[in-house]
């Protein structure tokens, strides 16, 4: 048995485009999935013998389409069985199809496929699960594992999500420019959620689930290829690469999260950092800053600092101020206050927290930051109160441990 890994790789690379084309053709997710599945089965029979076709994606689309048509004909009893040549996977037809598959045609197909998975009525986690199943082709078992739920539960979730989107009408016309921008925004947000689901690992004991981060980066790169002139898509991809570059240093030997300033920066992945910086640079040329570019710029400022002490906090504070203007959320304001404290001192940052007391009262980081600022200003008793509130709100052992370290410092100092 020869090594068939190249076939898996080819399937993975072809999947988004092939699924998108089959969906446009059949306008039904299940039919498209079955057709792609069938094409893969036929490829597994043919490719090991014949070698890879010139354009594997075109082959899979053509064979998938024909086999689904054939299946439909077979089910309708009045129709005679199709001739063998319906399975037209001849080199000529492949060439013709490949010519029609240039990016201007298929990019809207792929965007539509992703957009369908991002249905606004679906909760975020279901959008992610569906995108992983439909676009990335992860098995239900793999997705269930990533979300730390049982396979049966995930199967049910995906079925339900599919039923919901089956009822929705999505336009199969080529979208106009405003519609395209809107779809891109929705899809980018879901890719970001997918990344964060892997990066912050909201449930379970595993602090980082790298496969989800990898998949998010793969989808972001796909969007960059399809829409090369969209600065926010470049910004999103840069952001994910820059954040993921720290993954090797983010978890210590005991599996606990290591804070950014304590990480061994030699372990950061230089290759991803360089690519992230290059993409950010490319985005900046358009002079249309947006939230992803700004967050990527903040990550870039950290990536450029060889040691934590070299961090350009004045620049980061400026980026947060710009981000707050675009996205005036309490969490962004809190992050800005941290940057202000680092850049100019805790006395400038503490007043910024006053307006956040109410919206962020139940937020671990709010109380942690408040305690940290009060501690620096020598207000030990107030700091202790804030830290105790933070501990009560900690979600993970690592969060609680960090606060205990601060409390110890307080006890030793005062």
């Amino acid at each position: 048995m020869s090594d068939l890994r190249w076939i898996d790789t080819a399937f993975a690379a072809a999947r988004p485009q092939a699924m998108a084309a089959l969906l446009r053709y059949f306008r039904d997710l299940d039919t498209a999935e079955d057709a792609f599945q069938e094409a893969c089965l036929r490829a597994l029979q043919r490719w090991p013998k014949d070698g890879p076709p010139r354009d594997p994606t075109a082959w899979l689309i053509l064979v998938g389409r024909n086999s689904a048509l054939d299946e439909a004909r077979r089910q309708s009893r009045n129709e005679p069985l199709p001739d063998e040549d319906v399975f037209a996977d001849s080199e000529d037809q492949q060439t013709e199809l490949a010519d029609r598959l240039d990016s201007s045609h298929y990019r809207d197909d792929i965007l539509r496929l992703l957009f369908i998975c991002c249905h606004p009525e679906l909760p975020a986690t279901q959008q992610i699960a569906l995108a992983l199943r439909i676009v990335s082709g992860l098995t239900v078992k793999e997705i269930a594992h990533a979300f730390l739920v049982s396979e049966a539960a995930m199967e049910q979730r995906i079925t339900r999500a599919k039923r919901l989107i089956g009822k929705t009408r999505v336009s199969f016309e080529t979208p106009g420019a405003p519609e395209r921008v809107e779809r891109l925004g929705v899809v980018a947000a879901t890719i970001y959620l997918l990344f964060n689901e892997g990066y912050s690992a909201s449930g379970g004991d595993v602090p980082v689930r790298a496969p989800l981060c990898d998949e998010a980066i793969r989808l972001a790169r796909l969007l960059v290829r399809l829409f090369p002139g969209e600065p926010e898509i470049l910004g999103l991809t840069a952001l994910l690469l820059l954040q993921h570059s720290r993954t090797p240093a983010r978890v210590d030997a005991d599996g606990a999260i290591v804070l950014l300033e304590d990480q061994d920066r030699a372990q950061w992945n230089r290759e991803w950092i360089d690519e992230g910086l290059a993409l950010l640079d490319k985005a900046a040329r358009h002079a249309q800053p947006g939230p992803y570019q700004l967050q990527a710029s903040i990550a870039a400022a950290h990536a450029r600092a060889e040691r934590a002490a070299d961090t350009d906090w004045v620049l980061i504070e400026q980026h947060y101020a710009d981000l707050e203007r675009l996205q005036p959320s309490p969490v962004v304001k809190l992050n800005r206050a941290v940057a202000t404290a680092k850049a100019r001192g805790a006395e400038f940052a503490l007043p910024m927290l006053e307006l956040l007391a109410e919206p962020l009262d139940g937020y671990f980081h709010y109380h942690g930051v408040k305690g940290w600022l009060l501690m620096q200003l020598g207000r030990a008793d107030e700091a202790r109160v804030a830290f105790n509130q933070a501990i009560a709100l900690a979600h993970t052992a690592a969060e609680a441990t960090q606060i205990r370290i601060y409390l110890d410092q307080l006890t030793r100092k005062y």
């Binding site: 790789t9 981060c213 980066i217 090369p228 690519e275 290059a278």
Partner: protein, 121 residues
Amino acid sequence: MLYAILCYNDEAELAATTKPQGGALLAGRAAIERAFPAEGRLGPVVRLMPTSAAVTVRAGRAPCVLDGPYAETKEQLLGICVIECDTLQAAIDAARGMAGSGGVLEIRPLRALETGRLPTQ
């Protein structure tokens, strides 16, 4: 005679995983460094960043700058310049300056794996 070895591979396949992507080229680099040790016979060995980071400058009376790599195959690859710039914009400006003679210039950020040293003529 100086020779350039241009390395082609399927980027989509390499990007299907986010494992460090220098791998394929790094293996080749070891072979080349064994055969051409530091004696003035090994020039720069570079890894180009993914085409997503590329910008293309099309020559003309007013050179036009496009996001993305150069995808046509009508022209042939005739030359390579490696320059050091602080920003992509500076590299684009440099390419615009070269664009007078026609053709297409694709700008790709790169990682230098080996600066190398060629014999002085």
